[in-house]
């Protein structure tokens, strides 16, 4: 018989407690990113908050089914993308409603710039560029926009984007390429 400390089997209550703590940690670390992605996608603070809540609620319900095959962030992002898709589908069905009632306009979204040490001219140039990128993003398809935002706002790798969106890496690249050429066209003043 082996000497030393014996490993006690974990009780169901203790396992649940541990899982809850683990999930709380996931919420705390990933919530701002999920919110940022949804905010950039929807340009609506209230809606982004609501969908973020829904995302974590859904994640909490399915937390025991999460096997860790992908990172928690990728898994959460996939839930957020699906929620966003559902939202757009519902909006399309409810076409008589004034869609995007609370969404801020592009000018307002472009007003946000980090408070760095920049000259007034640099700030103005940056604001103009941001407005142009927003304008291009607005014209992208839902899938292109999602891929673009995951790559250039969330800094996700292509493999992660492919996993989160359920697309192949080649398709992700194609979407990124189209999105970028659109952004470049907007920056050059062509469409």
């Amino acid at each position: 018989m082996a000497a030393g400390t014996a490993i006690k089997p974990m009780t169901a209550e203790a396992a649940e407690e541990l899982a809850a703590q683990e999930f709380a940690g996931i919420v705390e670390s990933h919530r701002p990113q999920i919110f940022r992605f949804l905010l950039a996608s929807l340009r609506d603070v209230d809606l982004a908050e609501t969908l973020t809540q829904e995302c974590f609620l859904k994640a909490h319900r399915n937390w025991k089914h999460f096997r860790g095959e992908s990172s928690a962030m990728t898994w959460l992002m996939r839930i957020a993308i699906n929620l966003q898709k559902d939202h757009w589908r519902n909006r399309r069905l409810q076409f008589w409603r004034h869609t995007r009632a609370n969404a801020v306009d592009l000018d307002e979204a472009s007003e946000w710039l980090p408070s760095g040490e920049r000259s007034a001219e640099q700030k103005m140039l940056a604001r103009e560029q941001v407005a142009q990128v927003w304008s291009a993003v607005k014209g992208l398809s839902e899938r292109q926009r999602t891929v673009f935002l995951l790559r250039y706002v969330e800094d996700r790798e292509l493999s992660e984007i492919a996993e989160a969106t359920g697309l192949s890496e080649g398709t992700v690249k194609a979407h990124l390429s189209r999105a970028l050429s659109r952004v470049r066209g907007e920056l050059r003043g062509t469409r």
Partner: protein, 170 residues
Amino acid sequence: MTTHRDKWAEEMDDPVLREALKNFKASVDAWSEAAYSRPRTVVNASIRRAGWRVAASWALGCVLVAGGLTAGVYQHHHNQELAKIAAQKSAAQKAAQERAAAEQKAAAAQQALRLEQAAVEEPGAAPTANITDDDLLATVASDVSRQVPSAMEPLAQLMDDNGTVANEAK
């Protein structure tokens, strides 16, 4: 032929595009951070709910007031119509009464004319030819007064033409 991968890599060689994307990310970060750290109040939801409640009560109040006004106006209009119909009815009744009176007068005049003609045609009736209008009217009145209800007929038969009781005359 260039693939999407090559194109994508080429796009990123553009310094303007790189700068724009960097600024875009920084802008979204700043906005998201500000929105995420803003104070969240549950009051907002209750205010919104209360707002809906106020709007609903206003709408209900407006409906009730409009309904009351409509009912009042309708009642007024209805009363006016009733008054108009009543006035028309009374005017028609009055006209009928006047017409009946005129007919009665005409009949009396014809009766008097007939009596006068009869007096002219009968020789023994010469003294009565000069009968006056007052006498004629009195005769007509007595004729009319003789038209009594059937229940009074036995009593009327006891009376003679001059209005005196037959037995008394004997």
